[in-house]
Symmetry: C2
Subunit: 87 residues, 2 copies
């Protein structure tokens, strides 16, 4: 089967997020108050092939550990969306 | 009300995604074949305050146009998750 896979990669709790901090400090200057705890992460989308959903998910998790995320400072979530049979 | 807001920012269809391309070309070398159409985007999470969900969403969309996204080459999705009353 082929499936669309969405991977959300975020900094772990407690890791400094300078990009989020910069956004948080810029927003009030642009007139947008009332915003806090801004965190910036990555979203990686792909079409992946595998025997079944469980196999695709475990392969994408291995890809995260090997290349997509930095497991020391980042957490990731893998979600299979819009599974497509055949292909 | 206060709400957690998740913003997904992706390159528009047809815009070259060199980061996605680099991942797509690196994966087979690491033993992960069967992956295509890799796209890399950003996820921005925040806690935002506003009168109601509609007002929060429209303010966050304005923030996207003003600072968070580049509307010329990027599309964004705004999603309110885990609305919290009070605060």
């Amino acid at each position: 089967m082929r499936s669309k896979v969405t991977v959300l990669i975020r900094l772990k709790e407690g890791i400094l997020d300078p990009q989020g901090k910069a956004i948080e400090e810029s927003l009030p200057a642009l007139g947008y108050g009332g915003v806090e705890s801004v965190k910036v992460g990555k979203v990686i989308e792909m079409i992946a092939e595998g025997a079944d959903a469980a196999e695709i998910e475990s392969r994408v998790r291995a890809m995260c550990d090997a290349l997509l995320a930095n497991p020391v400072i980042e957490d990731y979530e893998v979600e299979l969306t819009a599974a497509r049979e055949g292909g």
